[in-house]
């Protein structure tokens, strides 16, 4: 948040903290390189975790019958380079990962990558709306709280966000399900679609869209209804962080002289808020929304399980419950990659939006 760097920080510190002045091209390149290195590191971490699993990864992966067969065992050893030194094993692992081979899930007996491909759209179906909703609410409410700083509205928001931050996600899901399904009976129980529907042909992977494409509005509506509660819970979980962040970012901006200057110019309050305060305040918000998205993805692990939502989260949950390491690591790797890439995009956006980076 270089906008906020003021001179109370000793000057030389300020110099060091400032976003360096690179041209956008160099900035882009640097970010790309950093991301690539990070991703490499991410694979190293998952590889190390594989090594941590007690016993041979082979016994965990191969079936009983296959283990009896020396040929299969030899082939397996060769493919995963189990006889090679550790760094060679890592290279092999890397090679496998790069070619999309994340191993075979013990639970499903299928390649982890294929499993992920199946479950990702379902997760996105709730994660993306929840993220958008969180951003919308987060910005609106955060801005509201900042403008009403210290007053009743702000206090209420603050209390609400603290409550949101302190709520265990799995518990909230249960309570919501209990209330809306069990007590009130206004929501479907779980899953993506009532079972009497034949799922539409997968086009986008998003159930409601696919249903619409298949010309089944009633089915699309059913799909939407199923998504409501999980989206709600995920939103509640993410929005608290966002509101708090937006609030403090906006407070910081509201405190700036340039906002006073804009008001002194006689600009209407709305204009000041929407085109001056928001613009400056959103830069850090964009950055943090990358983080928030990652948090949201982690949230799906427990939430999807409770709502029987067949997404990556449920997959991860089941993998964890079954100690299905290839699947767990596949999910970790996947989410880490998504997160890293989202962050890269966010950083690039940041570079595009902030002229101080764009034009330096």
């Amino acid at each position: 948040m270089s906008t906020a760097t003021t001179s109370t920080v000793s000057r030389s510190a300020a110099r060091r903290l400032r976003v360096g002045g690179y041209a956008l091209g160099a900035y882009l390149l640097r970010r790309l390189v950093i991301t690539a290195v990070l991703l490499l590191g991410v694979t190293a971490v998952t590889f190390l975790l594989v090594q941590l699993v007690p016993g041979d990864s082979m016994t965990a992966t191969l079936s009983e019958a296959a283990l009896q067969d020396p040929e299969i065992v030899a082939a397996y050893r060769e493919r995963w380079g189990l006889d090679e030194p550790l760094h060679m094993q890592y290279l092999l692992y890397l090679q496998n990962v790069l070619s999309g081979d994340l191993g075979v899930s013990q639970q499903t007996g299928r390649p982890v990558l294929g499993d992920l491909m199946t479950y990702v759209p379902a997760t996105l179906e709730i994660a993306v709306p929840a993220m958008l909703l969180s951003l919308l609410i987060g910005v609106a409410v955060g801005l509201y709280a900042a403008v009403r700083h210290g007053r009743a509205g702000d206090q209420v928001v603050r209390a609400g966000t603290l409550l949101g931050l302190s709520t265990p996600p799995f518990w909230l899901s249960l309570v919501v399900l209990y209330v809306f399904f069990f007590v009130l009976g206004v929501s479907p129980s779980g899953g993506r679609l009532s079972t009497y529907w034949v799922p539409p042909e997968q086009v986008t992977g998003v159930m409601s869209l696919d249903a619409l494409l298949a010309g089944e509005p009633a089915m699309a509506w059913d799909a939407v209804q199923h998504a409501v509660l999980p989206v709600l819970v995920l939103t509640v979980l993410t929005v608290a962080t966002l509101v708090r962040f937006v609030r403090s970012a906006m407070l910081e901006v509201l405190d700036q002289d340039y906002i006073r200057a804009a008001r002194a110019k006689g600009l209407p309050g709305r204009t000041v808020l929407l085109s001056h305060v928001l613009r400056a305040g959103l830069v850090p918000v964009i950055t943090v929304s990358g983080l928030a998205f990652a948090a949201l993805l982690s949230g799906t692990v427990l939430v999807e399980q409770i709502f029987s939502w067949p997404g990556v989260g449920q997959y991860a949950y089941r993998a964890a419950a079954a100690l299905d390491m290839p699947a767990i690591l596949g999910v970790s790797l996947f989410v880490a990659v998504v997160y890293t890439v989202v962050n890269l995009i966010v950083d690039l956006l940041y570079g595009l939006i902030d002229p101080r980076i764009r034009l330096s």
């Binding site: 399904f181 129980s189 009532s194 034949v198």
Partner: protein, 517 residues
Amino acid sequence: GGSGSGGGAGGGDSDDGGATQGGTLTVSTSFVVNSLDPGQVYEATGALAVHAMYDTLVTFEGSDVTTPVPLLAESWEVNDDATEFTFTLTDGAVFSDGSPVTAEDVVFSINRLHNLQGSPAVTVEGLAASSPSEGVVVVTSEQSNPSVPTILAMPAAGILNAEATEAEGGTAAEDAASVDAATDFLNGASLGSGPYMLDSFDPASEIVLTANPEYWGETPGYQRIVISNVEAETQKLTMQRAEGDQIALDLSGRLLEDLPESVQVSASQDTFYFLTLHQDPAVSEITSNPDFVRALRASIDYDGLAALFGEDALPAAGMVPTAFPGALPEVEAQQQDLDAAADHLEASGITDPTVELMYPAITYRGVDLGTIATKIQFDAEQAGIEIVLDPQPIASFLEAQTAGEVPFRFSPQSLNYPVAASLVNNFAPGQASAERTGWTEDRASEEIIAAGEAVQSAPDSESQISAIQDWQHLLNEESPYVTLAYNSGVVAATETIANAEYSPAGWQVDLRAVAPQ
């Protein structure tokens, strides 16, 4: 919830919807399915699906598991010492691709099951099939075995289209275990002659079956059956506000409690829960001590434990669940006797024993095994035995169990095939399960070995039943198994469904028979 126009049978508009009576049937069950290849199928849900897709020579109807009825075989004969079974195939049975079911297909399928050496192969151990003439199949057993028709009614013995299977890399040859490559294909499509075909299989979430338009028998009841992987608690939610035709398979005990009146429930106590104590002193000095086993056996609050499962469970009397002939009468149910436990413990010479109890961290038939294990822990504590719980993921548990080095474990068990004698094949000293428990023949008494043999050599089922009861009494005396309780398999179905009966035969509910009412 908008249980709108799309609900019920309306959901399944399809081109040839006229052929079947119903649209979509949803079967909810919490499952782990490794394979839908008959030669590999082992788990209950796999059996459920395979049974619907593959015809067997004979089968069972409804909840009855005593009388096999014809399916692909229109009749069969058995020789006197029950070692040779001759099946005559019906005419007109065709696979889903339209080709006729021949004796070669049957021979291929049974031999492949045997030679694949997969998990279900144990049931056909010692059996071999051949076809002396067209339309006739002879199955021989190395030992006298009156249960062969029952074994051949099991889903694993489903008949595959031999030609098509071979085309996908399948083989029935001796080396099938390493050469056969059809399993992957069979996990994505079916090659049977049953009323349903495999539409899609997602090992984590669902199995979708569709009606076989070419089915040679009666038209299947539904156009589409979705077997979805749903936790027990969600199954309950679904049944509470069921829309359309729904079956739930894991509702038992408490979960059945406040279901709507309209839900039909069918149950049968076909599972038992038991503890196993390793008999090899090298593995554990404690668990191999017979007095310790007795102390533990006396410490368990069988009634309280059964209560945890809900109304449909019973405290165990012997190993055979009440669903099967040969079960001990209810009055013989075991009782907690803490004084006796104390005496036994003293006799064992072990003071303040601590043992680790390994069990799979799963919910089985709606009951969290952790709950039961915690109860066991608590009861044992009353007798001065400390138990440390060691929940393991199912895969690790099975692996450890197979390795045969677990001192003390707890798990549910159902029968390989619905004949009590199958337990002897598995649990008698020296048999597969007993071996993994270190209960070798030389660690067992003459008496119990003889009792086991008596079961196996019983010429008819009557004498077999009394033999098996004797065997169970002896087990309660000196075996490393502590049978705790029997629990039911339950089928809960919406009122719109006919023939939703629980079958202890292994497939839980006969999907070929269920139909809209």
